[in-house]
Symmetry: C2
Subunit: 136 residues, 2 copies
DNA sequence: CCAAACGTTCCCCTACGCTGGAAGAACGCT
DNA sequence: AGCGTTCTTCCAGCGTAGGGGAACGTTTGG
């Protein structure tokens, strides 16, 4: 099948498919005599797998590393498991950071309510934010 | 003072200062006869304010919007408060998304432990991920 | 037989917050 | 006078996941 059909079947754009090919996430397909990309059903499977993995929160780089090992004939369950747990750890760290930022902002919000706007005249600063500096 | 001293005093690089100027976060300073940027103490205050606000989790665009209104002579407490609460909402959304991704990955991790790697032979897929497709 | 719809490659653009380097001018100290 | 450091501008890129559009070739239906 040609690129448009593959795209429709998998719910992506042709741009995305060419992009995946450019980063070696999809292998280069055969070409027709006139140079059109010519895909088989395996490409549908692989592309759907990529979208599934992506919707699970894996990055394209992580998906690529799974597929690379797969195509080298390895049993990748343990590799996948390791990769997934690494990714979970990274997400936990992001969540921690976001919660810290959230806490910081909540304090600012409270302070903003309690301060008198008319005492706020310095053009370079803002007392809402400034007041929180010492304890940060 | 020249750009290097300002940078040292505020703990940033000269690159960062020029970058802030290029996005209008810092206003263009006076120049010496030979074309060097020449800053006063107000620049130190403003730059430190920017770093404080940034460490509170605000983006440079948000900081710019506070500073813009300030320099227009407005009392910005209410604006700052609104901006902060918007940012908190955005962070909450990010956290929600990350937790969803985390849950998804936890399921994958559990599945990876329970599956038999030797049954995993398709070069285009990975049963750990594939098995979760239906309920996603 | 021709126009529409599809395909190709190519390069630039997005947002974010910078960092690095090159080429040249100016400053500071000996 | 000369050497090293600091300054100037501009250009380029990182990483993520593609999107937009130009300029051109191919396929397909009426």
């Amino acid at each position: 099948m040609r690129i448009g059909e593959l795209a429709d079947r998998c719910g992506v754009t042709t741009k995305t498919i060419r992009f995946y090919e450019s980063i070696d996430l999809l292998s280069e397909p055969n070409r027709t005599a006139s140079g059109y990309r010519d895909y088989d059903d395996g490409a549908v499977q692989r592309l759907q797998f990529i979208r599934d993995a992506q919707s699970s929160g894996l990055t394209l780089a992580e998906i690529a590393s799974v597929l690379e090992l797969k195509s080298a004939g390895q049993r990748t369950c343990s590799h996948t498991a390791q990769l997934v747990s690494q990714h979970i750890a990274a997400i936990d760290q992001q969540i921690t950071q976001l919660i810290a930022a959230r806490d910081e902002l909540s304090e600012l919000a409270q302070r903003a309510e309690s301060l008198d706007p008319s005492s706020c005249t310095d053009p370079n600063r803002c007392q809402v934010i400034e007041a929180g500096r010492s304890h940060t």
